[in-house]
Amino acid sequence: MRILNIPNLSLIFFAGMIHLFTLQTAAAEEQDDNTSVTIIEPSKKVSQPNSATVDAENFELGLFYGSLSVEDFATNPVKGIYLNYHITSNLSAQVSYGSSDVGRATFEDVVGGDFLSEKDEEFSYIQVQAGYQILHGRSFLGAKRRFNSYLYVMGGIESVQFARNDEIGFSFGARYKLVLTDSLTLNIDLQDHIFEREFIADKKFTNNIEFTIGLNALF
């Protein structure tokens, strides 16, 4: 016994009504004409209950907000925009821009000087990422709501500007996507931005962990 979604019950109801109507028509016809009996087969079209899914839409445009931890500095809010294109059902490509106002490091406060100018204190990136879907299924919120959900592995290349560095770095991470309605999805992303940075005469690969939540429109 499968439990049907409430919105689709109305479709079932209509299908049922059509069924009854055609049966009645058939019965009426049978009564009228004793010699020839025309049996009208009702069209058995019971639509499957479906949660909102990404089917015909290929593009997603969205905004995200979250936290970014910059190595040697603090954790600050990050915001940005992204555009995602579903190439196949498993593969997607994304272009995004994010920026975070990092501010002074604590030791800059202690020493009393500024190692970076105000402009250099902004961590911003332009990123091209590929996402590969490793899991698809459904998620349930409480007893009533269910959403189609997917888990992606993401990886990409980016151009990062921070602390007078303008470098090419790369990123990897994971995304949990929930399809909220037919035109809205929610992404929860975790990623690590890796780029080589030179700061106070120390050049090293830095890891910067980012967590964001984004809302996208499907079209």
Binding site: A74, G137, I188, A201, N208, I209
Partner: protein, 209 residues
């Protein structure tokens, strides 16, 4: 003589294992004690409440480097919505850019970032996902919050932890988790009474029994 108290406290984590072991034995004890009203049939059902696991990942220590972190955790699933988790993790802080140019903040011994915490977790979304074959796997997306203790730079601080994560049962008894955590505590290593946020991105494997 006075140091034996300090030793007890440094080993407080052993008491935590004791706590979890008693939880485990209590759930087994409840099975053993039941069935006393029906002498001929001992009701012995396999229970799956606990999981123990290891995890590794990256930790961004505020004002310091990002380091590889390794840890272990134990989770007790109280009901379908809530669970309690204990985590213990360690990371070794190497010299940060600032320290390389200006000098060390603290000695070698104090460079290990050690943290343990008790978390209450809430399964926000329970789910079932399909891997490439047609077998359904149970999964959940959860939020966690809790308290703990962080030791770093010669200081021991009361820590708040917030986080979220996703777990999937790749086999009936094996869980794979991806987690994000933010450890928040006040420190005096650099500056006065700074509230630091140390974020961690980690992946782990747990065994459910």
């Amino acid at each position: 003589m006075e140091y034996w108290f300090q030793r007890i406290l440094l080993n407080i984590k052993y008491f935590v294992i004791l706590f979890f072991c008693t939880c485990i034995s209590s759930t087994f004890a409840e099975q053993a004690s039941e069935g006393s009203t029906i002498p001929e049939q001992s009701v012995d059902i396999d229970t799956e409440y606990f999981d123990v696991g290891i995890f590794t990942g990256l930790l961004n220590i505020e004002d310091f480097n990002s380091e590889l972190v390794k840890g272990i955790n134990m989770t007790f699933n109280a009901n379908e919505d809530f669970f309690i988790q204990f985590n213990y993790l360690e990371a070794n802080a190497s010299l940060s850019s600032f320290e390389l140019s200006q000098g060390r903040f603290f000695a070698e011994d104090d460079r290990t970032f050690t943290h343990f915490d008790f978390l209450l977790g809430y399964n926000l979304f329970l789910g079932e996902h399909f891997m490439s074959d047609s077998i359904t796997r149970l999964s959940s997306f959860y939020l966690v919050a809790g308290i703990g203790d962080t030791e770093f730079g010669g200081e021991e601080s009361f820590t708040y932890t917030l986080g979220l994560g996703y777990q999937i049962a790749v086999q009936r008894n094996i869980l794979v988790r991806i987690d994000f955590r933010d450890y928040i505590y006040k420190t005096n290593i650099i500056g006065e009474n700074n509230s630091t946020h140390n974020t961690q991105l980690s992946a782990g494997v747990s065994f459910l029994f």
